[in-house]
């Protein structure tokens, strides 16, 4: 099982490597060598209440290649994040969001937060390999096409849409590497599904969060087999 050119950001020597060797994982430092377990644990950790309350959040990406095997080593250091400020600014060095930024009065924040409550479904969107989180309001879009357009707009700085069909739905592609991203989501049961398999309304109801996964990883996902 080789994944030849998935990670074209790496040197050509990467091709031919075992998929697991090049897998991109989110994990706490010093975690186990089992990528699957790491992936699961990382996802579980994601939403744990942080402690201490305002520990700094850094997210760094290291890419080391050894001379012989051009082994791709992705180390992502994940520390805790303030609970009510879970979206980090999109910056090359990622820091936790600053207090009082953006400079908007508390009254306005509260007023809009209330209004957003009804008929609004905000879910987190993570992009593999990107050091930031976004949120999207699923209820604000009337279909998959609109949602994908919104996702594209959100990550326009690093993603492009290729091959947009008649309905405007294309593939999300990393502008730099050409690696394709597949939108996946975690449903109510905790399973990761491909976005687009179920009717949109059903998707909105059951989606807990979205992850733009590199398509190489998404091969492990199966479409939703049966509804529960």
């Amino acid at each position: 099982m080789s994944t030849s050119s998935t990670n074209s950001a790496a040197s050509p020597a990467v091709s031919g490597l075992d998929y697991d060797d090049t897998a991109l994982t989110l994990a706490l430092p010093g975690s186990s060598a089992d990528p699957a377990a790491d992936r699961k644990r990382a996802h579980a950790d994601h939403d744990k209440p942080p402690s201490p309350k305002y520990a700094p959040f850094t997210f760094s990406l290291k890419h080391e290649s050894s001379a012989r095997h051009a082994q791709l080593l992705m180390v992502i250091t994940l520390r805790t994040v303030p609970t009510d400020l879970d979206a980090a600014p999109c910056a090359t060095t990622c820091r936790a969001r600053a207090v009082g930024w953006p400079p908007v009065r508390a009254y306005r924040r509260n007023a809009l937060r209330e209004e957003g409550g009804a008929g609004c479904k905000l879910v987190k969107v993570a992009v593999d390999g990107a050091p930031y989180l976004r949120k999207v309001d699923l209820a604000a879009h009337d279909g998959y096409a609109a949602l994908l357009r919104a996702l594209h707009a959100m990550f326009a700085s690093c993603l492009a849409v290729r091959g947009a069909g008649a309905d405007g739905v294309g593939r999300l592609v990393d502008s730099a590497t050409g690696a394709e991203y597949v939108p996946t989501y975690e449903d109510k049961d905790g399973d990761w599904m491909l976005v687009g398999d179920v009717p949109f309304k059903m998707f909105v109801d059951s989606c807990k969060r979205i992850r733009l996964m590199k398509s190489s990883e998404a091969v492990n996902l199966s479409p939703r087999s049966s509804s529960q």
Binding site: A98, V99, G100, P103, Y107
Partner: protein, 597 residues
């Protein structure tokens, strides 16, 4: 002129429009000082700790209108810890002793207690107007006291977080204006409205937009019916469309309206009645509210649009760009527009082509939880600048900006007085060239010679400060966040901006060198705020010792809630610094986390 009788001199002084002019004439000679101080009717105190209340009332015993401001501006964004100070009590007490003719009191970002309000109510027989903006610390008990004792022409404006018990509001007699803005109101039921006495027919302005609960519509209608002078009415979200329609039939002279609920299940008949009622309000110029407005409701407002000069849609995230533009394109006389960034760049282009008289634009972010994402970019602002050449005041939250855009904007609109640009992502460079935005902001300060207030953002080096120091000669207030490289940046400002009054800086690499580079400057300014910069305790101590006329306040968080830094903070580093000139000496009401050097 010294041979003129005092009454003549006094009369001449009455033509002086500004506080600073009156301050200047009082310096000419002792005689003028005396005449001026005894005839002064209006006093403005920009920093409540700059002078003792007793001094003010002793000097101006005949003052009728007093304005006092408390906390620094960054308190709006939770950067000033609670219980920092800014108490209204000493001011009200001093005035109660020495200025019984007081008619109007305006306070901003101050802590006002119920006891103070009760004292206020008892002490000034001619009291007319109470304006509270972004204040806190009181409840409806205090307001009830005001109401029950003040019986003539009361103008009550409250903005900001205060606890207002709606149950006790009722006893407001002969009220002229009750204006509650941006308060946290504790709702104890809808009956407060019905407690307006029948004799109260003097109401001119009523704003209860921030009261969260239900109101009794029958009472509201009755109140409005007996208020022929009503000019301004702002309702809360609980007021139904039908109630609004009924009210509007009684208010032909209404100039300013804040709508109630526009989301109810759509019944055409109700909305047709609304349109009919609105059409009767020929004087209506300003519209706000639109809480959760459903897009289907908006067309019923259309008949009004052509006469509007002010429109606030900034609390309506439910309206998308197409709804907004259909409405705004009809508002050809618009001078003031507040919107959310849902309007998008395309929508701003519509604004630019429709609203040629626009003077003030505010575009607020609709989503605070998604860092750096907004539907508006530099394109929207460029469009606005080319269509709305009369623009003087801007607050613009956006996703990105470019130098080229700012250059264009500066050329198109050289009349900016207030220019506040907030790029949501800190330190974001020019979106096309990846360069700092120094040149863009440089163009703004160079072209806009009347600029008085500026807020900058994005990636900025010391160069932008060189430009600001060199060109922004009228600048009075400057807000800096995540900008600059070194002390030199701040030095450019301190040395160049001759009219600078307020400087507020956060998360920028300015240290003791900058703090101490021009210490005499602080006596010409109202205040300096620096947080998350590089100043140290030593630097602040030196400043305090060199400048005895300044209060140098240092704030250390005790609960560690400001510890956003990765490493443990250097204990000599000062997290928050607030420096202000004062004749009052160190204040005695500082909490334990404030150290005054």
């Amino acid at each position: 002129m010294t041979y003129f009788p005092e009454e003549v001199v006094e009369h001449i002084f009455s033509f002086l429009p500004s506080h600073s002019d009156r301050n200047t004439v009082s310096l000419v000679c002792k005689v003028w000082y005396e005449i001026e101080r005894l005839s002064r009717r209006s006093v403005f105190v920009g920093n409540c700790y700059a002078v003792r209340p007793e001094q003010v009332v002793r000097r101006f015993p005949n003052v009728r209108a007093l304005t006092v401001k408390g906390k620094p501006h960054f308190a709006d964004f939770n950067l000033v810890p609670p219980d920092w100070g800014g108490y209204a009590g000493p001011w009200i007490e001093a005035a109660a002793r020495s200025c019984v003719g007081l008619e109007e009191l305006r306070m901003k970002r101050m802590v006002v207690s119920d006891e103070s309000l009760e004292l206020l109510a008892r002490s000034f027989p001619r009291f007319k107007a109470l304006v509270l903006i972004s204040c806190e610390g009181f409840s409806t008990e205090g307001l009830a006291d005001i109401a029950s004792h003040c019986n003539v022409n009361l103008n009550l404006n409250c903005f900001g977080a205060c606890l207002v018990d709606s149950r006790t509001l009722p006893q407001l007699r002969h009220l002229r204006e009750l204006d509650l803005q941006e308060n946290d109101v504790e709702d104890r039921g809808p009956r407060w409205l019905s407690s307006f006495p029948d004799s109260c027919t003097s109401l001119v302005s009523l704003n209860f937009a921030c009261i969260k609960g239900e109101v009794d519509s029958a009472s509201l209608e009755r109140l409005v019916a007996k208020s022929p002078n009503l000019r301004s009415l702002r309702l809360n979200r609980a007021v139904s469309v039908d109630t609004l329609s009924k009210i509007l039939l009684r208010t032909p002279n209404l100039e300013d309206l804040g709508t109630g609920n526009l989301t109810e299940e759509f019944q055409t008949e109700s909305y047709l009645r609304l349109t009919n009622a609105l059409e009767k309000c020929k004087m209506l110029r300003s519209l706000s509210g639109f809480w959760d407005a459903s897009p289907a409701c908006v067309p019923f407002i259309y008949p009004l649009c052509h006469q509007l000069t002010g429109l606030n849609l900034s609390y309506t995230p439910t309206l998308e760009y197409s709804d907004l533009t259909k409405m705004i394109s009809r508002c050809v006389k618009l001078q003031r527009l507040w919107v959310l960034d849902c309007i998008s760049d395309k929508g701003l282009q519509v604004v630019a082509s429709s609203c040629k008289d626009l003077q003030e634009l505010r575009v607020f972010p609709s989503d605070f939880y998604v860092a750096g994402y907004s539907a508006v970019t530099e394109e929207g602002l460029v469009a606005i600048s080319s269509g709305c050449r009369k623009l003087t005041s801007l607050l613009y939250f956006c996703h990105q900006m470019t130098n080229e855009a700012l250059l264009t904007i500066a050329k198109n609109c050289p009349n900016f007085i207030r220019f506040r640009l907030c790029i949501l992502e800190p330190r974001k460079p020019d979106a096309t060239t990846n360069q700092p935005l120094d040149e863009g902001f440089g163009a703004i300060v160079r072209e806009c010679k009347g600029l008085r207030r500026l807020s900058i953002s994005g990636l900025l080096t010391d160069k932008v400060f060189m430009y600001i120091g060199k060109y922004a000669k009228q600048l009075e207030m400057l807000s800096i966040a995540f900008a600059g490289d070194s002390d030199e940046g701040m030095m450019h400002i301190m040395n160049g901006c001759k009219n600078l009054r307020k400087l507020e800086i956060r998360d920028s690499p300015f240290g003791d060198g900058a703090l101490l580079g021009n210490v005499a400057k602080y006596e010409t300014m109202r205040s300096l705020w620096m947080s998350s910069c590089n100043v140290t305790l030593k630097g602040c101590e030196i400043l305090a010792s060199k400048m005895p006329m300044l209060n140098v306040e240092i704030m250390n968080e005790l609960d560690g809630s400001c510890e956003m830094e990765e490493n443990s903070v250097d204990p000599s580093r000062v997290e928050k610094l607030y420096v202000y000139r004062t004749t009052a000496g160190a204040r005695d009401d500082a909490p334990n986390f404030v150290k005054i050097l």
